[in-house]
């Protein structure tokens, strides 16, 4: 019997592109209507002849007519993402397979307060969380959004960012590592904002995504503020090729980050979170 091939790609049409920051764009992809995904999951995006990259899904899938639309925010760092940024535009085709991985435990957050803490492009996988909370606002308690980038121009979703503050019962705290004339928010690291978190520490969950060093500092500070390690979740990045736990390149300790993650609680990660290169 011929086994199913998990590496088959769906052809996807790019129907929109938005400039976000230097070297960062958001692409809207059109997929078949059967597609669905949870916040925090990712797709493998394939560029013909170059290869695939894992990209987190940065919007809740939107069903319209016979299609589903999802957004991906990509930054040019390597060959494939570089090709995406320079070559892919509205009307382009890309290959896609997914969604993969275990996303944010939104169910866990229901009825409790929620802190969303993101650095730089780390807001991309958390944006669907914010949108989901917004659309079922009563299901959650207070929402705190802490977001920072190295400078104001590197913030994502500037066209809607300040509107997050208008979501009922929501506190939005922004930061920029460097000062700039028009910047009226905090100057410093996003992790500085942790002291201004205004939630019920004992009955809340925290979702963190950003560079690994930023996440480590965040988790230390959150633990110091009294959050338990099973209340704090991070989304990890690794070298990923297959998305289904067979290529082995994303291993972190005994976990396959692509399949068992990319979202983990700090208690699940244990020492893996702290030992460099494990």
């Amino acid at each position: 019997m011929k086994p199913e091939n998990p590496f088959l790609l769906e052809r996807s049409l790019v129907v929109g592109v938005v400039d976000e920051a230097p070297g960062v764009k958001t692409y809207t992809l059109r997929l078949s209507s059967s597609y669905s995904a949870e916040p925090g999951q990712f797709n493998m995006i394939y560029i013909y002849g170059l290869g695939e990259v894992p990209l987190s899904i940065s919007s809740p899938p939107l069903k319209r007519g016979s299609f589903t639309y999802v957004e991906h925010t990509a930054r040019a760092v390597g060959a494939v993402t570089g090709a995406i940024l320079s070559r892919v535009s509205t009307g382009s085709l890309v290959g896609l397979r997914g969604p993969y991985g275990r996303g944010w435990p939104l169910r866990e957050a229901e009825g409790r307060d929620l802190v969303v803490l993101a650095g730089g492009i780390g807001l991309a996988p958390l944006r669907p969380v914010i949108k989901c909370v917004e659309s079922s606002r009563d299901a959650f308690g207070r929402l705190n959004i802490l977001y920072g980038a190295r400078s104001p121009e590197y913030l994502l979703y500037k066209y809607e960012l300040e509107e997050y503050a208008r979501i009922p019962n929501t506190k939005l705290l922004l930061s920029s590592d460097t000062a700039s004339p028009s910047w009226s928010y905090h100057v410093g690291f996003v992790t500085d904002l942790i002291e201004y978190i205004d939630v019920d520490v004992g009955d809340s969950v925290v979702f963190v995504c950003g560079p690994e060093a930023m996440m480590r500092t965040s988790v230390k500070k959150l633990l110091n503020r009294g959050f338990r390690s099973d209340q704090i979740y991070v989304s990890l990045e690794r070298r990923m090729r297959c998305g289904v736990g067979v290529c082995g390149t994303c291993q972190l300790g005994h976990y396959f980050v692509c399949r068992d993650g990319p979202v983990f609680s700090i208690s699940e990660l244990g020492e893996y979170f702290w030992i460099e290169g494990i």
């Binding site: 086994p3 998990p6 002849g49 060959a79 070298r239 290169g277």
Partner: protein
């Protein structure tokens, strides 16, 4: 041996036979078309960093293993057009095959790979599902770097095979069935029941084989505990990996290493997506465009060791990732000895205790 092959052929409807095939140099795991291709009249001499084929009748294994067939160095997983149409799904049905003359350590390695890849990796799954028979050669004289007895994967087999044979001497085979197919095969071969003289000799030889393995892991659980305690000690891993050159040979010859990298091979009007082996000891393992998750060699050496002894059991429901075949020791260009290093793990932890 010829009869054995013939009976399998008859019973299973002309399958292909896969085994260690004698070539002009070192045997590799491949299709066996006649009995003369089996490495029955050679032996291997294995030492850390050394491998040699000599005359004899005790061939153990080579750099090659059943992994060469089940998860080959290159696996085409998809062929795709520039407009993103799949031209070929890359997965075909596996050939009906009998593994012939594989070693107990090989069999254990397949059990390990099954836990990770079966029904998940399409190429592995297709080939693995095509295996309809397994004939094992038990090891009456282990090789120079073997330590299967320390990790419970040899030198004999208890289950998971159809027929196992032991070469008591150059001419005498002692066979045992491990399944209904095996019983049927042995029955139609018209063999006599072995006298107690032979079964006693067999038992003695197995005992001697176990005793003769120079490399021993005295206490696996203690070693695992020690490794757990040392996971965060950068100093220890730097010291223990000092000689390693990060070539990845150990990964490629290891019958359980399964990590692959995906590359695109571009043709005129199509691209092949190809999975190729990647060794965790090599620099690219953990490298991403924006950084490196295992930049230092000690980190990759640590992953290799901890994966084999701590993480595989968690990923497979209890099976070690090391089957004691000793290939990583033999084929290491500088002869780094995994067992010696594990003994050092125990010593360090003893000192600290």
């Amino acid at each position: 041996m010829k009869k054995l092959m013939l009976e399998f052929k008859k019973l299973l409807g002309d399958p292909v036979f896969l085994g260690y095939k004698r070539g002009s140099t070192i045997p590799v795991f491949d299709e066996i078309r006649s009995i003369s291709e089996l490495p029955l009249e050679i032996s291997d001499v294995q030492k850390p960093g050394k491998y040699e084929i000599v005359e004899g009748f005790r061939f153990r294994h080579s750099h090659s293993s059943p992994k060469w067939y089940l998860l080959p160095p290159e696996q085409v997983i998809l062929t795709i057009s520039p407009s993103y149409d799949a031209i070929d799904s890359g997965v075909s049905e596996g050939r009906r095959a009998v593994l012939f003359g594989v070693k107990p350590c090989d069999l254990k390695a397949i059990a390990v790979l099954d836990k990770i890849l079966l029904d998940k990796h399409p190429v592995y799954t297709a080939k693995r599902r095509g295996i309809v028979g397994v004939v094992v050669e038990e090891c009456m004289e282990p090789g120079g770097t073997c330590f299967c007895a320390s990790v419970n994967s040899g030198p004999i087999v208890e289950s998971g095979f159809d027929v196992a044979y032991a070469r008591l001497d150059k001419e005498t085979l002692l066979l045992k069935p491990g399944s209904d197919i095996g019983r049927q095969v042995l029955k139609s071969m018209g063999l006599e029941r072995a006298s107690s003289e032979y079964t006693e000799l067999y038992k003695q030889m197995v005992g001697r084989a176990i005793d003769s393995m120079k490399r021993k892991l005295p206490d696996l659980e203690r070693a695992q505990r020690a490794l757990r305690g040392l996971a965060s000690s950068q100093e220890f891993w730097e010291e223990i990996s000092k000689k390693c050159i990060g070539c990845g040979n150990c990964n490629y010859v290891c019958p359980t290493c399964f990590c692959t990298e995906f590359i695109d091979r571009v043709g005129e009007n199509h691209a092949e997506r190809v999975a190729t082996w990647i060794g965790c000891l090599t620099y690219t393992y953990g490298l991403v465009a924006g950084g490196h998750f295992r930049k230092q060699l000690y980190m990759r050496y640590r992953h290799y060791t901890l994966h084999k002894f701590l993480y595989y059991p968690l990923q497979t429901g209890g099976l070690l990732g090391c089957v004691g075949c000793g290939r990583c020791i033999t084929w290491c260009p500088i002869g780094l000895d995994l067992i010696e290093n594990l003994s050092r793990v125990l010593k360090v932890k003893n000192v600290e205790a």
